[in-house]
Amino acid sequence: MADTILVVAEQREGKLNRVSLETIAGAQAISKETGWPVEVVLAGSDIGSLAQELAAKAVARVSVLEAPALTTYTSDAYVFALKQFIQEKQPKLVLFPHTYQVRDFAPRLALALDRSLISDAVGYKYENGRLLFTRQMFQGKFAADVSFAGDGPWLATFQIGAFRGDQAEAGSAPVENVTAAVSEGSPRVTPHEVFQEAKQAVDLSQSEVIVAVGRGIKEQKNLALAEELAKALGGEVAASRPICDNGWLPLERQIGSSGQTVAPKLYVALGISGAIQHLVGMKGSRTIVAINKDPEAPIFEIADVGVVGNLFDVVPALTEEIKKAKSA
C-alpha cells in the first residue's frame, strides 16, 4: 500500500475543533515534500455535517468514523475505534492537534499499536528522505529534532499555532462513512457535562493595556509594583498560571491556554518566561514588552521590545517615566 498521512480531526459535542485545520495545513506541507497523500478521519456519532467542512480542504479523503459509543468522548472508546481504523488503513504517519483530548488518548493509542508518539511538535524537517519533528524542550529554552525509529505508522501531535488553519489549502474530497469498531465492555470512565465556573467579574479581552506578572515577581506583596505600572498605563493586571495557582490573583486574571485569551494594544510581561501555554493566550497582542532577567527567556522570541534586567529595578523607573510622559 502507498504511504499516506492520516489527520485525526477533533470534534466535541458536535462542534469541529478549528485546530484540526491547523493539523491539516501541517499535513499538507509534509505532503508537498514527501508526496504522501493526506487523508482525514473524524470520530463521533451523527457528525456527517462536520465532515463537509473538512472535505472542502485539499485532501484525498475524509472518513467519518461513527458509532453511538463515540457520542461523548472517552479514551477507551476512542482508542478502540481508532486502533482498528489505523490498523486497517496502515498510514505512514498519523497527525493530531495537541489538544487536551488528544493528550488524553493518543499515548495509549500509540502503545496499543505498538508504536511511538512524538508529542507537541512545533514543526517538521524533511532531510535526505528522513522526517524529523521539532519540539520544544526545557520549557522552550531549547528545541530538539526528533526522529522515529522502526516502521510506521508514526504518530505525532502538533502544538496549537504550529501551522495556520486559514492556510489549509482548499479542495474537494470524497466523504466515506465507516462504522467504528466498538469494544464489548463499556468505557471505564464516565464523563459528565462540560461547564464553566461562574461568570467572571473582569473581562480582560476588552482591555487595551495589560500588565502581566509571572513567577519572577517572587512574592505576593510585590504585585503592587505591577499594579502601579498598570495604573500609570491605564490598564489591567493579569498573570501567568503559577501566580493564580498560588492564589495571589483570581483565576479570571490568568492568561493562557487554560485561562483567558487576550489581544490588547499593549501587553507588558514582567518576570514571565514565555511557556507556550502562556503565549497562546497573548501572542495576538499588538505590542509586547517583556522584562526578564534571563536574556535567553523564550518570551523575548515574541516580544517587540525586550528588556534584559531585574524587574525590581526596571519597573519602578518605568512607572515614573510613563507618569512623566503622560503628564507632559
Partner: protein
C-alpha cells in the same frame, strides 16, 4: 488507599542550561529540583492518605542525584521510596520509562497511581497515560480535584479555556495531576529527620531491562531555537531603559 506517586528530577527553573559536546543533551552539571506538577501530585497523595488512610510510596527513575527528590518526598510525609537508579534511565523514551516504572510497581497492586501531567524538561505529557496502558488500568488526565466515592473516584478535569468536567472512574487507576490542584506543604524539621530512616528500595537497570525494548524515537540534535521575530533588545541602567521603553511606547507603538 495505597498510592504510588511518580516523580521526576528536572533542572531548576532558573538554572542556566548548556548543551553537551555532541549537541544531543544538556550538560548535567546544573542544579536540579522536583518537577513541579509532580510536587502537586505528591501533595494530593498525602492529602488523600490523611483523609482516608493508607500508604504513599514515591518512585523515580534516574541517576544517583535523583535520590534527592525521593528524600524530599519522604520528608514531606511519604512512607517509602523506590529508586530505579541508573544513568541510563535518562535516555529512555516515555514508553520505556513507563515500562520501567510498571516493572518496579506491578506487584504492589496500588489503588491509585498519580504523577504530574508533564515534565518541565521533555514536556511529552505521556508517561502517566502510558503507564495506565501497560498496567491495563483506566486513567484520567489534567486533574484538578479528587474525591473518593463508594465506587471509585469523582475527578475534576481541566479542559481548555476555563472549561471543566467531572468524571467518575473506578480504582485502581492512573491520574495525571495539574499544577494548582492544592497548596504545597513544606517539609518539617521532624519530617526531614524521620526521612533518613524511611525505607528506600533501589532497583537496578538489570532488573527491569527485560521489560524494555528499543526506543522508538530519538533526539537527533538539541539546539537553541532560532529567533523568528525581530525584538528590539534594551539593556542598561534602569533609568535609561525606562526612558527608551517609554519613548518606544509613545513614538513607535503609540500606546501612550
Amino acid at each position: 488507599m495505597k498510592i504510588l506517586v511518580c516523580i521526576k528530577q528536572v533542572p531548576q527553573k532558573d538554572a542556566p542550561l548548556k548543551l553537551n559536546e555532541s549537541g544531543t543533551w544538556i550538560r548535567e552539571d546544573v542544579s536540579y529540583e522536583v518537577n513541579e506538577p509532580d510536587a502537586y501530585a505528591l501533595e494530593e497523595a498525602l492529602r488523600q492518605k490523611e483523609k482516608h488512610g493508607g500508604e504513599v510510596v514515591v518512585i523515580t527513575a534516574g541517576p544517583v542525584r535523583a535520590q534527592q527528590v525521593l528524600r524530599e518526598a519522604l520528608a514531606k510525609g511519604a512512607d517509602r521510596a523506590i529508586h530505579l537508579e541508573d544513568d541510563k534511565f535518562v535516555q529512555l523514551d516515555s514508553t520505556n520509562t513507563a515500562r520501567a516504572i510498571a516493572a518496579a510497581a506491578a506487584e504492589e497492586n496500588f489503588d491509585l497511581i498519580v504523577t504530574g501531567l508533564q515534565s518541565d524538561d521533555f514536556g511529552a505529557a505521556q508517561t502517566g497515560v502510558l503507564l495506565a496502558e501497560i498496567l491495563g488500568l483506566p486513567h484520567a488526565t489534567i486533574i484538578i480535584g479528587i474525591e473518593k466515592t463508594d465506587s471509585g473516584l469523582r475527578l475534576k478535569r481541566e479542559l481548555e479555556a476555563g472549561h471543566y468536567q467531572f468524571i467518575d472512574l473506578p480504582t485502581p487507576a492512573v491520574l495525571t495531576i495539574q499544577s494548582g490542584i492544592n497548596k504545597l506543604r513544606y517539609a518539617s524539621l521532624i519530617g526531614i529527620k524521620q526521612a533518613k530512616n524511611k525505607p528506600l528500595r533501589k532497583v537496578a537497570w538489570a532488573e527491569v531491562e527485560p521489560k524494555l525494548s528499543k526506543n522508538l524515537q530519538q533526539i537527533e540534535r538539541l539546539y537553541v531555537p532560532v529567533k523568528q521575530k525581530k525584538t528590539e533588545m534594551i539593556e542598561g541602567p534602569a533609568a535609561e531603559v525606562a526612558r527608551k521603553v517609554t519613548e518606544y511606547l509613545k513614538n513607535t507603538a503609540r500606546v501612550i
